[in-house]
């Protein structure tokens, strides 16, 4: 039995219902179609700083974050301006980027590809980050670079030294300021020859991921060209904390040089183990046993303490560079000053590369006049600059790799304080570490085309 009586209440109810239904679409204002992912529309722009806060590279991550915070402060006109004053490009004026105030979000990569991608994704999808930067592991850098390419934002690599980042796994949206394993090999080889001669047997311990593999390959190639022999290469897991079992077989193999292709906490532990085993006092084949750590940093030197004395390696930058090697490396002192004033100690090379990357991105946006990743990438490609602490530098367009001088360093024998643990042995000029974009160690990948997303 149906009841068709119209009541006043019923009419009112359905009237309101229909009215609301009709009005509903008008409040669904679909967000305006933007030209690219996370186009900044308000008065601010958000950058995503994705660094390891836990895991073997946590120390580097903490220093990177400090540098990013400093860079944001300087871009927004705070502090003393740091390297903005020495940077050869003068378009940045302390009013943010293109007049928009710079804000940032930070995340923890945990030095795991999965976690790093999840963190970067949430920055892009939730916080609207227009650029992602950071990372202290090449595995993570390669993974996040791939993600940024897919999502259509710029990735400014932080600490990543693997050849693959701008080689096999290079991407159009990714840029690297830091040097790479090939450059380390090219810079180290002449110094190693001078110090240890042409007749050496090297034993490699290598972190088992993209960085370790390419560094081992590069160092082995460079030293074999000198006439050295590579006795063996043993891969060690990144999560390893005790290397005793890997050190023990070194002497039995008849090697007289141990190459530690380790970084961060890994290197501190493996070097400490090696020294505890008395390797450095040993005589093999009538020669002193030597240890080489191809990629070095002040933070690692600090962690390794006295064990680092006399050990040779390479660096991208050192805070003493301008003091010792003159004005060519202008910017170093300005950066050290503002970093030191804010945090009370000199910055590491990780901090410098991250600071420089942030400034380079801001500068490219400003010069391109747009946040569009494709425009930014175009502005960055083949950009020549100076005054960021590394001397004259080129961002090569063919593989998005920076080319600049490389430092060969050695653990100081009698450090005056904990900030002078590393001494600069030589600065290898950029010509000596330059290679062709299609060099076999970098072959097998393609930049693809830039992706602006949306």
């Amino acid at each position: 039995m149906s009841n068709k009586t119209l009541t006043r209440r019923g009419v009112l109810k359905s009237g309101v219902g229909i009215g609301a239904g009709v009005a509903l679409p008008t409040i669904f204002t679909a967000s305006s179609a933007s030209a690219f992912t996370n186009e900044p529309t308000g008065s601010s722009v958000t950058l995503g700083f994705n660094v390891p806060q836990t895991g073997p590279y946590a120390d580097e991550g903490a220093d990177e974050l400090r540098a990013y915070e400093l860079a944001v402060e300087h871009l927004n006109g705070g502090g003393d301006g740091g390297m903005l004053g020495t940077f050869s490009s003068k378009v940045l004026d302390g009013t943010g980027i293109m007049g928009k105030k710079v804000q940032y979000v930070s995340g923890d990569t945990q030095t795991k590809s999965d976690a790093a991608r999840a963190s970067a994704k949430s920055m892009i999808e939730k916080d609207g980050a227009i650029m992602i930067t950071g990372g202290s592991s090449s595995g993570v850098a390669v993974a996040v670079q791939g993600l940024c390419q897919e999502a259509g934002v710029i990735f400014m690599a932080g600490l990543t030294h693997s050849n693959d980042t701008t080689g096999k796994d290079k991407k159009a949206n990714g840029f690297r300021h830091f040097f790479n394993a090939y450059m380390s090999g090219a810079a180290l080889a002449p110094v190693l020859e001078k110090l240890y001669g042409n007749d050496r047997r090297a034993y490699h311990l290598t972190a088992d991921y993209t960085w370790g593999w390419t560094q081992q390959e590069s160092i082995a190639a460079a030293t074999e060209a000198l006439g050295w022999e590579t006795v063996e290469n043993v891969l060690t897991p990144l999560a390893q904390t005790d290397f005793s079992s890997y050190i023990a077989p070194v002497l039995n193999a008849g090697a007289d040089v141990l190459v530690l292709n380790h970084y961060g906490g890994n290197m501190v532990n493996s070097l400490t183990n090696a020294v505890q085993f008395g390797l450095r006092e040993k005589q093999v084949n009538g020669k002193n046993f030597e240890i080489v750590v191809p990629l070095y940093s002040e933070l690692m030197a600090k962690g390794a303490g006295a064990n680092i004395k006399g050990i040779v390696g390479s660096q991208n930058w050192d805070w003493k560079l301008e003091n010792e090697r003159g004005d060519k490396y202008a910017g170093s002192n300005a950066f050290v000053k503002s970093f030191g004033e804010k945090y009370g100690f000199p910055p590491s090379q990780a901090a410098q590369t991250c600071y420089a990357q942030t400034l380079l991105y801001a500068d490219a946006v400003q010069r391109a006049g747009s946040f569009n990743p494709c425009a930014v990438a175009e502005a960055m490609e083949d950009f020549e600059f100076d005054g960021l602490g590394n001397g004259p530098t080129t961002y090569r367009g063919a593989d998005h790799q920076c080319f600049k001088d490389v430092l060969v360093v050695r653990g100081a024998e009698n450090p005056s304080d904990e900030y002078n643990l590393v001494e600069i042995v030589e600065v290898t000029p950029v010509e000596q570490v330059t290679y062709a974009p299609d060099h076999p160690m970098f072959a097998g990948g393609a930049l693809g085309s830039c992706n602006a997303g949306a």
Binding site: D114, S119, E125, E150, A446, G448, S449
Partner: protein, 400 residues
């Protein structure tokens, strides 16, 4: 309807409603407000909610029904991810073949591991599964590097063959995962006043798969097979003495639950085509145990809630840094502000594990039945009549 009784149907409909409206429910705060920090309605996290929900539902079929505690379930998730990524590399970017393969491969893996592990029960079974998972992790991490790409993780490249698709798109980039042309990455934004809601294709694909998985789990729970599994949990010896061989039942439960994990892994790779070895690490296996216990082991909805809870903490609490805290407490006098921030500091950012640990302890101590028990207690407060019913169902359970 669907062969379910009224209570289960209501549950299924509630879950369906919650998942389909998740973009609204998870974004309760306007975008510009300070509380937007707590919004979880962005595609990546929503996908994680439902994918780990599937993982936990599957785990619960084994742990909740048979009582066998597997500490190596992440291995199946990892295997599923690797299979799916290989499918994207070799065959096509359509997610259907990838997901099908990942379920099959994970099922085969579970068959082999289960056949060996299930010869023991209790703690020995847990240790065996843990050992297998760690072996798989070590294999993926270093030994099988050509297949898994080790620490770097398996990724798509421009020169993959992709027989049924293109190696590269016309503009020279890697094609994206899709479902017959519907790109998993595509999303529609809807601005509603100050709110902003994102509807992602990938999320809805995951949500539909999750609902199917959930429905299947209900059917398994209510089937004679499910009853047999419960019998194993309540007293396996007694069951064996009746002359019944319980091994095939436990093995079937193990394989089904492994296939669920494989499905979750395949979906994960479909949303983001990368597979890393750390997905198989023992911490990942432990995580699903936590999810299930936190939500309520042996209940239907519990594992999904637990998965959501843990993923929320992992992704939202870990993003709160001192900067954000200073923003919140800026209204306080300087000294007190700094003190408050210092006090809260260990519990946020990288300290999210600590917060989660405390929460887990509280749940286990005060709500042994997990979040579901918490919900039931609240319900009971409001509806005394329901309470008596629950007591009756309790009384019906067999005595130990």
């Amino acid at each position: 309807m669907f062969g379910l009784d009224k209570k289960d149907l209501t549950l299924l409909l509630v879950v369906a409603l919650l998942t389909l409206l998740a973009p609204f429910i998870l974004n309760p705060f306007p975008t510009g407000s300070g509380l937007a920090q707590f919004n979880a309605g962005y595609p990546d996290l929503m996908q994680r909610f439902v994918i780990f929900g599937i993982f936990a539902i599957g785990f619960n079929i084994l742990f909740g029904l048979t009582g066998y505690l597997s500490f190596g379930h992440a291995a199946f998730l990892g295997v599923g991810s690797y299979s799916a990524v290989w499918m994207f590399k070799l065959l096509s970017m359509n997610i259907i073949p990838a997901i099908v393969l990942s379920v099959i491969i994970a099922g085969l893996f579970a068959l082999v591991i289960g056949y060996v592990s299930l010869r023991r029960s209790g703690i020995y079974f847990s240790i065996l599964t843990l050992a297998f998972a760690q072996m798989s992790f070590a294999l993926a991490y270093s030994v099988l590097t050509p297949i898994t790409n080790g620490e770097t993780g398996l990724q798509l490249t421009l020169d993959d063959p992709r027989i049924l698709g293109a190696s590269a798109t016309a503009d020279g980039s890697i094609p994206v995962t899709n479902l017959f042309g519907l790109e998993m990455r595509s999303a529609v934004n809807m601005a509603l006043g100050p709110w902003n809601f994102t509807f992602s294709a990938g999320y809805y694909v995951c949500a539909v798969v999750m609902l199917l998985a959930f429905y299947l789990a209900i059917r398994i729970f209510r089937s004679p097979f499910g009853m047999m599994l419960r019998a194993i949990k309540s007293n396996q010896n007694r069951l064996n003495y009746t002359g019944l061989n319980s091994r095939p039942y436990t093995l079937a439960a193990f394989v089904i639950s492994g296939m669920y994990a494989g499905l979750a892994g395949g979906l994960m790779a479909s949303m983001d085509p990368l597979a890393g070895a750390e997905r198989m690490q023992w911490t990942a296996s432990g995580e699903v145990v936590l999810m299930t216990i936190l939500g309520g082991a042996g209940t239907l909805i519990g594992p999904v809630l637990g998965a959501g809870m843990i993923k929320y903490f992992e992704n939202i609490f870990s993003k709160i840094n001192d900067n954000v805290l200073h923003g919140w407490f800026a209204w306080m006098p300087d000294g007190i502000e700094d003190l408050t921030v210092t006090l809260i500091h260990p519990f946020i950012g990288k300290g999210w594990h600590l917060t989660l640990g405390i929460l887990f302890m509280l749940v286990v101590i005060f709500l042994p039945g997990g979040l579901v028990e918490g919900g039931q207690r609240i319900m009971r407060l409001f509806r005394r009549r329901k309470a008596t019913e629950d007591d009756q169902t309790k009384a019906k359970q067999p005595a130990e």
